[in-house]
């Protein structure tokens, strides 16, 4: 617990919030989109469990634009 005390939460909280926004936006997009590269369920797991990189990966390579 000693470790957690030295951290300035006021400064770090915004980062967690925007990370959460990224996660929600990618899930919303995933639910709306018709087809993805690869199985849809796989992307759900990647987005939720791969921290930060997951949603970005989804937008860059998982999304299909045509």
């Amino acid at each position: 617990m000693e470790l957690l005390e030295g951290i300035n939460w006021g400064l770090l909280a915004p980062l967690f919030i925007i990370q959460l926004i990224l996660l929600i936006v990618s899930l919303v997009d995933l639910s709306r989109i018709e087809k993805t590269n690869g199985p849809k369920l796989l992307w759900v797991f990647i987005i939720i469990f791969v921290n930060i990189i997951g949603p970005i990966l989804y937008f860059v390579i998982g999304r299909r634009n045509d």
Binding site: L3, I18, Q19, V25, S26, I56, V60, I61
Partner: protein, 259 residues
């Protein structure tokens, strides 16, 4: 002009629909801010991992604020470039593949306005994301280390933005010259990488290379003054951007008429 504005607005709207306006800026914020945060908490991170003998003293000198900001900025020239290229490689090639381009171009639309409106839309996104991301990196560096002068921040921002614009123009060029988005992305990435490596290795010979703008930006942050070759490098970058745009319109027209 009104035709160009319509096409431009369509670009902006499309980027809203596929959430580019949200995820690109957020990615840029997270990329940049991770640098000051992780270097600030580095001693604590090392301590929590443990494995050090009792009484070991780790003495890492705290980095200067300029160095932290410069390393945050350098994130944009690696992962940032990757994101820009991957998200814009399909901008023209993808539309041509799916047939949307043909649908737009049967109407009396100038090829010039079609290509430049797409380029301008992506340009706006890149500069907006870079500004938001870099501004938050600057703010976090100021909070955790020391404040870097705002004028230095703005100057290095413009230098970096110019380099990213060159990268963007290269991507748009290959996107209009080739049919496959994946191929366009791959060639743009390879070209960007080769140019950066060569300019880095032969920095005394290629002082005017646009890729040098990134090292000028970090030089500005650590030394506090604009490196002497930054001006010619910026002018050359602007010329390269104009040339690439002109060439992409030219090639696109040729391909489209042939098809």
């Amino acid at each position: 002009m009104s035709q160009w504005m319509t096409l431009f607005q369509k670009e902006i709207l499309e980027m809203w629909r596929n959430f580019k306006w949200i995820w690109v800026p957020i990615t840029f914020i997270l990329l940049g801010v991770s640098e000051p945060v992780s270097s600030y908490y580095l001693p604590q991170i090392i301590k929590s991992f443990g494995g050090l003998p009792e009484g070991a003293i780790i003495d890492i000198p705290p980095p200067t604020a300029g160095a932290v900001l410069a390393s945050g900025l350098s994130q944009y020239s690696t992962l940032g470039v990757l994101i820009i290229v991957l998200s814009t490689m399909g901008v023209i090639a993808g539309e041509r593949k799916s047939g949307v381009a043909a649908m737009i171009l049967v109407k009396p639309v100038f090829y010039l306005s079609y290509v430049t409106s797409k380029w301008a839309g992506s340009l706006l996104l890149v500069w907006f994301s870079l500004f938001i991301g870099y501004l938050s990196t600057w703010y976090y560096t100021g909070q955790l280390f020391d404040w870097v002068a705002f004028s230095d921040f703005l100057q290095s921002f413009v230098l970096y933005g110019l380099w990213l614009t060159v990268v963007l123009s290269i991507t748009v060029f290959f996107s209009s010259a080739l049919l496959a988005p994946g191929m366009a992305g791959f060639i743009s990435l390879a070209l960007t990488l080769v140019v950066s490596i060569f300019s880095g290795a032969l920095s005394h010979l290629l002082e005017w290379s646009p890729a040098q703008l990134t090292s000028y930006a970090s030089g500005l942050l650590s030394a506090g003054e604009l490196p002497e070759h930054a001006m010619p490098a910026s002018i050359l970058s602007i010329l390269v951007i104009i040339l690439l745009l002109w060439l992409s319109v030219f090639l696109f027209k040729k391909k489209e008429l042939a098809a």
